[in-house]
């Protein structure tokens, strides 16, 4: 065997090894995969639109509910009383309006006979209008009170599962304060946090293989969106409104991670997916 052949054989193997090593490195660094994916879902927070005691709680924690189900009711005694009060007020305003109309009609006759001044006549007309608007105002207030009464029943806004229900009968709930949340049915999706070096290899519509930490099936999905913004820690300020600039790590640059949303094609029935679970994501490259 010629010496040139022996030398070149080793050199070729070393050169190929160099190329292969580079390929392994870039494969590891630039292939679009991440170990840090999470299962997410559309969460609806349920808050009553009226304040009061909870007097009937129809649901349990983690219960599956359908859209429109009554979740709980707030004590409506006060709202019923308000309606009675406003009913009476509306009735009284109506009578006041009738009275004003009656007076006005009488003034028309008197004005024709020139028995009262133009001013008195105008006053009677304006009083009628005033009484009418007072009546309309009372009606509107009654209507608002009826909305409040209707909202003492809190309905499920969507199909889904209730989460973190620690509400009990007798608790006082305040208007606008969330009391538990609802995971919307069939709204599960995956968010993967990809290093920015891998983002050029990610595009919308790309097929994704999602594997759960618990193993089992590999789920399939598609990239639906790539996050367009993440927070920059250098712009936060301290108590004196001075910017908090991070220290430098010369030669060490940490890559940021960008959230990428993935919609699952279908979820097998035998998989129990919970929001927050850890998944690994591998995006398929066309090459």
């Amino acid at each position: 065997m010629g010496k040139i052949f022996r030398i070149s054989l080793t050199l070729i193997v070393v050169a190929v090894a160099g190329i292969a090593g580079h390929w392994i490195w870039s494969h590891y660094l630039y292939s679009p995969w991440t170990r840090d994916g999470r299962v997410r879902a559309e969460i609806i927070t349920i808050a009553p639109d009226v304040s009061g005691w909870v007097n009937q709680l129809n649901v349990k924690d983690n219960q599956i509910v359908s859209k429109g189900d009554v979740l709980f009711t707030v004590d409506d005694t006060r709202y019923k009383a308000t309606i009675a009060e406003l009913n009476a007020k509306a009735e009284s305003q109506k009578l006041a309006w009738e009275l004003a109309k009656h007076k006005y009609k009488r003034r028309i006759g008197l004005t024709n006979d020139n028995l009262v001044s133009k001013e008195t006549f105008d006053e009677a007309f304006i009083n009628t209008e005033l009484a009418r608007t007072s009546y309309e105002l009372a009606q509107a207030q009654l209507n608002t009170a009826q909305i409040d009464l209707a909202r003492t029943q809190i309905h499920a806004p969507e199909n889904g599962t209730l989460i973190n229900l620690s509400l009990r009968n007798g608790n006082y709930v305040s208007k606008g304060n969330s009391v538990f949340s609802l995971v919307k049915q069939d709204s599960l999706y995956i968010t993967g946090y990809f290093e920015e070096t891998k983002i050029p290899l990610v595009h919308i519509g790309q097929n994704a293989d999602v594997s759960l930490m618990s193993g089992g099936h590999v789920l399939h999905g598609k990239v639906t969106s790539i996050g367009k913004a993440i927070a920059n820690t250098n712009v936060t300020t301290n108590g004196q409104l001075l910017p908090q600039i991070g220290q430098t790590f010369n030669w060490v640059r940490l890559s940021q991670r960008i959230p990428v949303d993935i919609q699952l094609d279908s979820i097998p029935k035998d998989i129990e997916l919970s929001v927050g679970m850890t998944v690994s994501i591998q995006l398929q490259t066309d090459k």
């Binding site: 190929v16 494969h27 930490m213």
Partner: protein, 66 residues
């Protein structure tokens, strides 16, 4: 590609399988070269072996990693 291996909730790099595989292939090649007597004819055997190991590793990752 380079999917991690989960054992009882602990995640391991897939290289703990790929590297022994590549090493095994290197050993086989070396054995064959010894048997045929070609080994001693190589120029800088150590360079050759290291290079071959990396080539095998890349091959294993290419074949099993995806």
């Amino acid at each position: 590609m380079l999917k991690e291996l989960a054992f009882d909730g602990l995640l391991f790099s897939p290289l703990i399988i790929f590297i022994p595989l590549a090493f095994l292939l290197s050993c086989i090649t070396r054995l064959v070269l010894y048997q045929t007597g070609l080994y001693h004819k190589l120029w800088r055997e150590a360079w050759f072996e290291v290079g071959l190991f990396i080539c095998y590793l890349a091959l294993v990752i290419y074949l099993l990693g995806s």
